[in-house]
């Protein structure tokens, strides 16, 4: 613990020389800090040519980046920090005051299917009673069939009050003695058996592991994955309760300390790559943070830029990315952070329909996993950037913008019809602008003004202006 704190203080103090923003309480400053106070001013001129040292490169960067466009609009970091603090407290107070709604609170005209976390033993007994029913059915000569909830788009419904997609209770029969469903029902039986084994042994496996237990039957992983979702939907439990997890995909870095399987992790001390988000959320706990917001990043490249520049030390935050479409673990982690730390979530995604789609998956859930949307969605995510209106606002040159393809435009128009977009007039406006100009841009388009433009100018300015929707 001690070590981790000194490490973060070291850099923070360097920042504070520049920005005179004291983030951590003075009581936590230890002797090592004093030493650095002595050393850094004298060392700087000498070590300036050593790129490996963060301090030196930071110095040099600062002198070079003064002429970046819009740089002059930036107020001192202390002012921005104050804005953020106000925002953070106001949002936390507002969200804590309003009680989170559940499906039961609303009287919807139709019944919905929702799953919950179940204990291993109840999953096991659910499977067992299902299997017993099937065995009886087979023995009486009637074959067997599964009653699988439909996860088709027609069975999905967006509930504006909850701001997420829920699954209606339509289901379809999956009989064994039918040419079109025989394969699926055989796979379903096999997956049930495998999950049953996991329950007995009490271990976790990945989806890939599961696939490899019977490659010949499953043929490819998509099939076993789909059926796995069907099974969790059928048993009425979350996918994590089946003890099957996806491989680690998401990463987190920044001002966050949490325990992973009993080990304390300090996310400021995880190097440039950050900490991989653990696939089973139940072993994560004890979250602590002094961050003011959570920054959701679509892409690995932008995440790396921010991590390397230690953006979270300049503006205390937690940076998360799932490298594209978010997996279950990242969504669960984000939800947990939001719930426990009560921080506002800001999203930095590409300025294209898919960026907004990714945002919507974090916010309202995916159609594929809508049965578990209650656990997976994080409400009230703000769209920070890169928004279509930013392209002109920040004068991003033409050669960095891409023309949208027919497919892009179609996706964009389809999204304008989606309820989760329509509920936010600001988003509708931005998306309409995108479809109208037929231009898209990635986060990396900002690199046209220099690789560090994102962390040095764009994000600070955005935060200063509270420019999110």
């Amino acid at each position: 613990m001690t070590e981790s704190i000194t490490g973060s203080v070291l850099i923070t103090v360097l920042f504070s020389i520049r920005s005179s923003a004291q983030i951590l309480s003075p009581s936590r400053v230890k002797i090592s800090v004093v030493i650095h106070f002595h050393f850094t001013p004298t060392l700087c001129p000498i070590t300036a040519h050593l790129p490996s040292m963060a301090e030196s490169s930071k110095k040099r960067r600062r002198t070079n980046t003064d002429d970046l466009p819009f740089k002059n609009k930036l107020k001192p970091d202390s002012t921005i920090l104050q804005t953020l603090k106000d925002f953070s407290t106001s949002s936390s107070s507002s969200s804590s005051s309003s009680k989170t709604l559940t499906l039961q609170d609303l009287s919807l005209p139709f019944s919905c299917r929702e799953v919950s976390d179940l204990s291993l033993s109840s999953v096991q007994s659910n499977i067992e009673s299902l299997v017993l029913r099937i065995a009886h059915s087979i023995l009486s000569g009637n074959g067997f069939a599964f009653d699988v909830p439909s996860r088709a788009a027609t069975n999905q419904f967006y509930v504006p009050e909850l701001d997420r997609i829920v699954l209606k209770d339509k289901s379809s029969l999956r009989p064994f003695a039918n040419i079109s469903t025989v394969r699926k029902s055989a796979i379903t039986a096999r997956i049930l058996q495998l999950v049953h084994q996991l329950c007995i042994k009490g271990i976790h496996v990945t989806k890939r592991d599961l696939f490899y237990t019977d490659v010949k039957l499953f043929q490819d992983q998509i099939q076993s994955d789909t059926v796995l979702d069907d099974v969790s939907c059928m048993l009425g439990c979350t996918r994590s309760s089946l003890n099957v997890v996806a491989a680690e995909k998401g990463v987190v870095v920044g001002r966050l300390i949490f325990s992973d399987n009993g080990d304390m992790i300090d996310c400021t001390k995880m190097g440039m790559g950050g900490k991989a988000i653990p696939p089973n959320i139940d072993r994560v706990g004890d979250m602590q943070s002094d961050a003011l917001f959570i920054l959701l990043v679509e892409k690995d490249a932008a995440y790396m830029r921010l991590a390397e520049d230690r953006f979270y030390n300049r503006f205390p935050c937690i940076i998360v990315t799932a490298k594209g479409q978010p997996d279950v673990a990242t969504r669960l982690f984000l939800k947990k952070m939001k719930m426990e730390l009560n921080l506002p979530v800001l999203a930095l995604v590409d300025s294209d329909p898919y960026g907004l789609k990714i945002l919507s998956v974090y916010g309202c859930g995916s159609k594929n996993m809508s049965y578990d949307s209650a656990n997976l969605t994080t409400p009230d995510i703000k769209w920070l950037g890169v928004r279509p209106s930013d392209l002109d606002k920040y004068k991003i040159p033409e050669q960095c913008r891409l023309p949208m393809t027919e497919q892009d435009i179609k996706t964009g128009k389809d999204m304008l019809e989606e309820d989760f977009v329509k509920k936010n007039p600001g988003w509708v406006e931005e998306l309409t602008l995108m479809v109208k100009t037929k231009q898209k841009a990635e986060i990396q388009a900002l690199s046209t003004f220099g690789f560090q433009y994102l962390s040095e100018v764009y994000l600070p300015l955005k935060l200063q202006q509270k420019d999110w929707l």
Binding site: V131, I138, L139, R190
Partner: protein, 672 residues
Amino acid sequence: MDSSESPTETKKTKSKTPRKNKETVLKQKSPAEFFAENKNIAGFDNPGKSLYTTVRELVENSLDSAESISELPVVEITIEEIKKSKFNSMIGLIDCERVDAELYDDYETEKAREKRLAKEARAQEIQAKNAALGKKVKETPASKGIRGRGEASFYRVICKDNGKGMPHDDIPNMFGRVLSGTKYGLKQTRGKFGLGAKMALIWSKMSTGLPIEISSSMRNQSYMSFCRLDIDIHKNIPHVHVNEKRENKERWHGAEIQVVIEGNWTTYRSKILHYMRQMAVITPYAQFLFKFVSDAPEKNVTIRFSRRTDVMPPVPLETKHHPSSVDLLLIKRLIAETSKQNLLQFLQHEFVNISKSHAERLIGEMGPDFSPKMALKSLTPQQLVRIHQLFRQAKFDDPNGHCLSPAGEYNLRLGIIKELHPDMVATYSGSAQVFEGHPFIVEAGVSIGGKNVKQGLNIFRFANRIPLLFEQGADVVTRTALKRINWSSYKINQLQDKIGIFVSIVSTKIPFKGTGKEYIGDDITEIASAVKYSIQQCCVQLKSKIVKKMQAREQQERKRNLSKYIPDATGAVYNVLKDMAETQLHASKKFRYGDDDGELLRKVYENLITKETLSEKLAKHVEQVDYEMALEYATQSGVSEEPRETIYIKPLETENKIIDLHSPFFVFRMFH
């Protein structure tokens, strides 16, 4: 280097310039000279292609000739390889041994030889290694002797048909004068410019210097003409060596043409064979015999494409021009050639789709200077321009397709079946449409499966019943088949199925792109949409067949497919039951489950119920379901099947027992 070279350079140019000035005299070129210099226009780009084009031109001439007298064509083509020594002896040149080896291009220097030997040794090593590893070794072709520039190969091409033949006195002009022909005029023809046979002659003159030999006889002609001639390229006139009448014992009619040219069989072998095969597809009423003869017997090829039908498409009619397709020059020519005296008659008779009343209205529209009875010869150039303008702007009915002679759906279908033996075939013949005043008809065929057909799309293109083999990529048919047809919606797998696509376009003027007349551009929307529609129509026909086939296959395989998964399903269920039974025993929680369930688990534990029991029961269920489904299918398909043809079988004994049931209105006769 530079400084030493530049003075010589300038010297050279200096010495050249005055000579050049002297030569700027106005020179004229004969058509023959022009084509000799630009032989690629006519498809004589290189020796290989020249061989191909020669074969092609001769075959097409033969077909045209036979069709013009409504005779079912029989065409024999022979390509005879002539070795260099044989060729030399033919022209009376004595073989010369090389004395100064270094003089030649293919002389192998010491260094090059070392390199080659090292390479060969390496190749052998690899081969030995592969052989040791038991890999199947591709037989490396015996290292070819390096072929120098001078090492040309020569071929005698002989084409014999049963066509019309040629009048004895016209033969020299028909072969020895470029741009003279019998196929000019507005009609659907294979050839167009009267170039083919003459170009072969020019090419033979350029490459071998040997003359062309023609034997010909017309119907009911007692003699046979034999003519040996070559062409005077500078004057574009024939140079006749022999032109004599010989005996014609067999009463044969037709033509036999022999020409010796430089060529390249090895590289164009497949193209020539493809051409013959595709020609056989589009002309199933013709019989072709193709032979390749050489000194090496293993290289010899003999293919007979036999006749499959006696139905020949009608001879294409010569038609008149459509007003929207003529230009100013053509109007002038028509006026000069017509027998009509006044404007009204001219409009009415020299163009299609202008009736008398229509012509009168048109003349009224031309202006006050024009009158129906005005003499054609009195028209001023300005007035001609006015007529032309009106033709451009006025609306005319589209020309009908009567003048066209498409292969016909029947023939196309037969051709495809004959040459490809596909599993399924569908054909479609579109109605006539118009592009720039010229009518065209698109016919299409789509086949699935067959022998010698590659997986994926195999495209066969025909224009005016000639196969097009080159420049496939840019062609309208290729583009349409690749980009605009959604094969999967017709249950056809674009990559795995063996799909044959046959599109034949006939027109009085095919809008070829490029000089080689090898493809039709993709930019003509009329043709592109007609092609797309025709292919789609074929696909629609195929789809119903394919779906039926799939259903039938599903019927056959249903039980097998269902049974396949029985072990998986029962295994999974049984394993869970077994685990449950064991844990239940150890935990001795006997009353965790209901009576039925407890009983079941006990039986599992005591091996009274095993995996096999479950499998057996499930298999029985599958069998029952399969039986029900089969019954259902039989009742359904029985209704939807096409009406069956009734067959009457004669009884073996002629004697019949008959009972007649008489009523006031009818007689009911019963056979026993």
